[in-house]
Symmetry: C2
Subunit: 398 residues, 2 copies
């Protein structure tokens, strides 16, 4: 039998999905599982967008342009303008989700063996796409004690080598919910300029910023040739399934190069583009309602977490995730145990062990990532389950 | 300004789409362009599948499973059974088009620097995905004189080195329309076994085989751990835009590895899966009508091409492409000229220069690839345009 590739062996399993078989087994026993592990919003997709599917009168579901429909890209320019980001439709390339946007940026901007700096804990799939592209990720550690603020800029600079080509930021951050301040971004800008690096800025949670500090997009930093924006409609409109993301940059050479990859994969999803386009305009009220809902959940959930003995999480300023330290030595073991052993009135909960979001294998061992994508009633139940589970788990350990 | 990657520079532009700017310019002058360059079928998508879009009553367009919906994979097992291919739903992974299926197979089975043998002329995007994955493609040349039959197996064997990990076949072939015979596939099988190689078999044109010789899928060769089937619903149901393909293999280790890549990109398109699933059953009549239409076009178009002085193409046995030699020295120059200079009653035609389908830069210079995805009436006009264009072009050259 021919053997698989070394890089395939090195690909990590998803820390978000790796415990899924245990959850499936629990469900087969009719146990209700509260999913705090995955960023699948429960909020509805805008009705306006769903209605658009019923209006499709195409006879043939043909390829769309490799760069995405012009009409969609034009509407996106208006959307970006509302966030103070001035781009033309030519500067937007539609991708198959934010996932493809990440991979294509890596491929177009870095060679195998090149290095990229990224904050840890960070979105785990960045590592998967980095392995796919053969690039090395150097993790700069942020800590729960500092509320996952930007690590000292000296830590970034110390990690730079002649192979360093880029810095990757997720702002607001998945998994920590941290929103980088204008001052922090200014420091990143100076470093990017000093070493002439690319700055990949993943801003898919842009709408979900709950602080009063003004949100700064990397596109507004005044380094147009260095910044590449990674974006997606998935979370914004509860449209994770349609797989529509985008790469936005003023750097024409990067766009031209990305387009060669886009042409090879022919086109982004046609139907998803139709839904995404219908979601952009006339959905102000929808967006405000989503924002208010997530903010209320955050306030409720974070407070509730910090009331459980031994549990601590900083207040996330954006997105809908938080990294939580638990009074256990091995959070993955605890997560597994919750799914396989712990039941309270036939219910349990699923969390993502945070170790998978760190590069350093010693970090985050007592942490989990939780997504508050359940209604407050369910979050209240999840909190109750967590409290009881911790008590039972730690008693069992003695 | 930071520079783009070397591999990005090496990515070829699509030979199918590279002349698009010239076509766009012609259209802006109100010139009607007959597109023979791209495999975008003009036939309708099954109405049953289009209707399914109107029935979607989901409130949230959420992620689907990374491996694709079970209900879709179950229906696919029935589809494959009708072609004599016995697989379980677990052995099918749904991908974002055949395009992603190709890339994920390369990533999962080969390391950077590994080698793969493929017939030239071949589907140009194989090269793009090979560059993406960092693997080397060694082209084994088939010739128009032999009707693009499988090159001598000795040519394959002579190209094998210690780094050779796979053979890639497209059957029926894009761009030649050739269908490999049972005897040819037997020779490939023996070579695959002798060197324990992977056999990637791209069979997306399976329904469109116009010969009486029985079609043999690589899945039926009796080398279950070596064969990886690359598939797509794009051409089968005129659903290129929905981006639904699949990887099918009995090799569990390959599937497990592919799944890690699939988890990183989260999920294939939700809406496309709904359309694809609705297309599989109850569309026998539709499929028969498509088949009859393509067959009639082939018979008409190939005959017409060979009646033009100096033009030659072998009879393709499958798919809806053919590679045509023209009485010109530089087919790309001729294709460009047709778009930029040639007009007959305000009309012209667009073809894909075949050189982009060869690895050897000296080959195919006087050839083009044509897709017969237009109705017979339009094909007749295209033939008339080609005849007149060749006459005018060659007169101009004197």
């Amino acid at each position: 039998m021919p053997i698989i590739s070394q890089r395939g062996l090195e690909m990590p399993s998803s820390p978000i999905r790796k415990l899924a078989p245990l959850a499936d087994a629990a469900k087969r026993e009719d146990v209700k599982v509260y999913h705090l592990n995955i960023g699948q919003p429960d909020l509805p997709t805008p009705q306006k967008a769903l209605d658009e599917l019923k209006k499709i009168d195409r006879k043939t579901l043909e390829y769309s342009p490799s760069e995405g429909f012009l009409s969609l890209r034009q509407k996106l320019t208006g959307y970006y303008r509302s966030f103070g980001i001035e781009v033309t439709s030519d500067e937007i390339i539609v991708t198959t989700g934010g996932s493809e946007a990440i991979l294509l940026c890596f491929l177009a901007c870095m060679n195998p063996g090149d290095e990229m700096l990224a904050v840890e804990p960070g979105y785990a799939n960045y590592i998967s796409f980095a392995i796919t592209a053969g690039i090395k990720v150097k993790a700069i550690t942020s800590t729960i004690e500092n509320g996952f603020a930007l690590p000292p800029i000296e830590d970034f600079e110390a990690a730079i080598t002649p192979r360093t080509r880029a810095i990757l930021l997720c702002n607001p951050s998945n998994p920590t919910g941290y929103v980088y301040s204008p001052e922090e971004l200014q420091k990143i800008k100076e470093l990017v300029q000093k070493y002439d690096l690319f700055l990949f800025s993943d801003e898919v949670y842009r709408e979900f910023v709950y602080t009063d500090v003004p949100y700064v997009s990397a596109m507004s930093l005044g380094i147009p040739d260095n910044v590449i924006l990674i974006d997606s409609v998935s979370k914004r409109y509860s449209e994770c399934g349609i797989r529509i993301g985008m790469i936005v940059t003023h750097n024409r050479l990067v766009r031209d190069t990305v387009m060669k990859y886009c042409q090879a994969r022919l086109s982004p999803p046609l139907l998803g583009q139709i839904v995404a386009e219908a979601s952009i305009e006339g959905t102000q009220e929808y967006s405000e309602a989503c924002y208010a809902e997530y903010k209320a959940r955050r306030d409720f959930f974070i407070d509730g977490l910090n009331r459980i003995p031994g549990v601590y999480t900083p207040m996330p300023q954006g997105a809908f995730y938080t990294v939580v330290s638990l009074p256990v030595a091995d959070a993955e073991d605890f997560c597994r145990w919750c799914l396989s052993d712990f039941r309270l009135n036939g219910e349990t909960l699923m969390m993502a062990p945070a170790a998978g979001f760190y590069r350093n294998p010693d970090l985050g061992r007592n942490q989990v990532r939780m997504a508050y994508v359940l209604c407050i009633e369910d979050l209240a139940k999840a909190l109750k389950l967590l409290k009881a589970a911790l008590k039972a788990y730690n008693k069992r350990q003695v």
